[in-house]
């Protein structure tokens, strides 16, 4: 019997197998941010174990609330800062260099095919886009990971989502994943790795694959995972060109992290996306999805473009394509949070920031902030946000607020109209120029 990607990764990282179904696996990286890590750091200190398993495998960032907005968040940041300094953690990103962890760390080249990664953050599943096993954990598991470089997981079962067909203009990775979640349900992949495969995946950029894998958790998945291919190698090349003499050699090495033809999947969901239209969520659960046409005229108060789901340069380009030469509806406020300093810088160079600002957007520094209702765009009671983030839970972006999840282009279109509307009417149609 062949193996899935996740099974291959577990087999190569297993250091203990205390009971039939439980595997202690060795970690290639432990990612840390300032909301869940300081508690682990404090606990390690109190146990007299203020150290890390391997300082080069710890990657840390202050991203959720940054720059600090009050004394308490300043204290969280301070603990991270002192910890990185005391323990000589070099890959630590503070104000000025910091960005949303799941956008920043891939951009720095910290994720490779076949890696195992944990973080005290449920959207760690994003990094599976590189053919890695990456999972969100609680602070207890994070703490053990920081100290010992291991984490326990049950043997991975994999649910395969096979995507075929041709993507229509105006349909983005966000529309695809929202559709997949609506098909699976919010617990449809619980205790499972979701492996994305099929011709659609081969055509997706790494950023788009990250958008897909990022929301695996919204269907309950442990990790989203894409088989590494030429696109993966091209993205990673600046970081791996000293390891391999050619891209072909790298590809040859990385394709071993692909599921075998006879691998056992616990379920296979086949979706032809040819008929898929731009979509939006409508309720408080990410599987409550309708087409934007069905949501047409739903008024919005705020547009939020950013987050680990959709705050990367391709997302900004897609939104800017809709916004170019247009203004936000006066009833709407627009917030753009480029996910990393590099995204921000590139957006400036490409003239995208001008397009956003001309449209009337407020451009904030890279941070998670508003996505989880902590800062930089929290909603008031009764307000509605068209958002490119990943969770529309009741009160997620602010108590009493309503969040409609959609692609950056759809969010931009809602900003111009003042209500949810089909972004395709704002896009240059093929053949028009």
């Amino acid at each position: 019997m062949g193996k899935t990607i996740a099974q291959k990764i577990f087999d190569s990282h297993r250091v203990d197998n205390p009971s039939g179904d439980i595997n202690v696996i060795k970690l290639d990286a432990v990612f840390c941010h300032e909301i869940t890590t300081p508690i682990a750091i404090n606990d390690l200190k109190s146990r007299g174990k203020y150290r890390v398993f391997d300082k080069d495998k710890i990657k840390a960032v202050i991203d959720h609330v940054t720059p600090s907005k009050d004394s308490k968040t300043a204290e969280q940041a301070k603990i991270m800062r002192e910890w990185a300094r005391d323990l000589d953690i070099k890959d630590f990103f503070d104000v000025g260099q910091n960005g949303v962890c799941h956008a920043l760390f891939p951009e720095k080249g910290y994720v490779r095919p076949g890696y195992t990664i944990i973080m005290g953050d449920s959207h760690t599943c994003t990094h599976g886009a590189f053919g890695a096993f990456a999972a969100g954990v609680g602070t207890t598991d994070l703490e053990v990971g920081i100290l010992k470089g291991v984490c326990a997981f049950k043997s991975p079962e994999t649910l395969k989502v096979e995507l075929t067909g041709t993507r229509a203009k105006g349909v983005y990775a966000k529309d695809i994943i929202l559709h997949v979640i609506s098909r699976l349900g919010v617990n449809g992949a619980t205790d499972h790795v979701i492996e994305f495969d099929g011709s659609v995946i081969s055509d997706l950029s790494m950023e788009e694959r990250m958008t897909l894998c990022n929301m695996a958790i919204e269907a309950g998945g442990t990790c989203g995972i894409c088989p590494p291919d030429k696109t993966t190698v091209d993205y990673l090349w600046p970081f791996i060109s000293n390891e391999f003499s050619t891209k072909e050699e790298a590809l040859k090495d990385y394709v071993r992290w692909a599921s075998d033809d006879d691998a056992a999947f616990s379920k296979i969901l086949k979706i032809d996306i040819s008929e898929l239209e731009p979509v939006s969520t409508f309720g408080f659960k990410p599987d409550q999805v309708k087409t934007v046409k069905e949501m047409e005229k739903t008024p919005v108060d705020q547009i939020y473009i950013g987050s680990c789901t959709n705050g990367r340069i391709e997302d900004l380009r897609a939104a800017a394509e809709v916004l170019k030469g247009r203004k936000l509806n006066p009833s709407v406020r627009g917030i753009l949070a480029p996910a990393t300093p590099q995204v921000y810088r590139n957006a400036v160079k490409e003239g995208l920031i001008d397009i956003f600002m001309d449209a009337g957007f407020c451009v904030t520094n890279p941070t998670c902030g508003a996505c989880l209702g902590m800062s930089n765009g929290v909603l008031a009671d009764g307000e509605v946000c068209a958002s490119t983030t990943n969770r529309n839970f009741n009160g997620r972006m602010g108590k009493g607020g309503m969040v409609h999840l959609m692609s950056p282009a759809s969010a931009a279109a809602a900003g111009i109209a003042g209500y949810i509307t089909d972004p395709r009417s704002f896009l240059v149609q093929d053949g028009e120029n």
């Binding site: 009050d70 968040t73 954990v137 619980t190 309950g220 989880l372 009741n394």
Partner: protein, 199 residues
């Protein structure tokens, strides 16, 4: 070795609904803490309190269920954010055991590390238990983790819990931080035996 959690007795709180996420259990704005102490006051904060901090009409505010140690809910309990603050907030409000139709994976794991049994029951049993508690808030429950049975009066109900979690609870090995910190020397040795991986 931690406390062995073998039997839990107490009264219950019926919290109807599926997919109750960890943002509901504790909103992110209460995650500015530096330890997990004192989070009980924030448990279900936006469910329990209105805009001006006034208590809402809700089962979690009802004197009938105050101080009850067993939380009963629906499908996919604890979905969303991985925040361990969520089970800590529940523990802080006095919850010692959860009974639901199913759980999100990270939440179930976090409960296990805190010594909170997260028991899964079939839909009809969940419905029946919710109704029993709503009809009579004073009804007593007893959970036997050795016999894997839930008792109330002369009724018996089966439940599911992953065997590794159950054994960790009954054998007093649920505090994985303490346990692993003390016992990982074997793993460290194994780690050294493995060839360096990739880099």
């Amino acid at each position: 070795m931690n406390e062995k959690i073998i039997e839990i007795t107490g009264k219950a709180v019926p919290l109807r609904g599926d997919d109750i996420d960890t943002d509901r259990i504790i909103p992110a704005r209460f995650m500015k803490c530096l330890t997990f102490d004192g989070l009980g006051q924030f448990a279900f904060y936006d469910v329990k309190y209105g805009e001006k901090g006034e208590e809402k009409e809700h089962v979690l505010n009802s004197p009938d269920f105050k101080g009850h140690a067993i939380l009963i809910s629906g499908r996919n309990f604890g979905c969303g954010s991985s925040r361990e603050h969520a089970p800590w907030a529940l523990k802080g409000m006095g919850i010692r055991c959860i009974i639901a139709r199913s759980y999100a994976e990270i939440f179930a794991n976090n409960c296990s590390s805190l010594g909170i049994p997260a028991l899964a029951v079939d839909e009809n049993i969940a419905d029946e238990l919710l109704k029993m508690v709503e009809d009579d808030p004073a009804v007593d429950f007893s959970i036997d983790l050795l016999g894997k049975r839930l008792y109330s009066g002369n009724r018996t109900f089966p439940f599911h819990i992953p065997e590794n979690y159950r054994l960790a609870l009954v054998e007093g090995r649920w505090d994985t931080t303490s346990m692993l910190m003390e016992s990982l020397e074997d793993i460290e040795r194994a780690n050294k035996r493995l060839p360096a991986f990739i880099d």
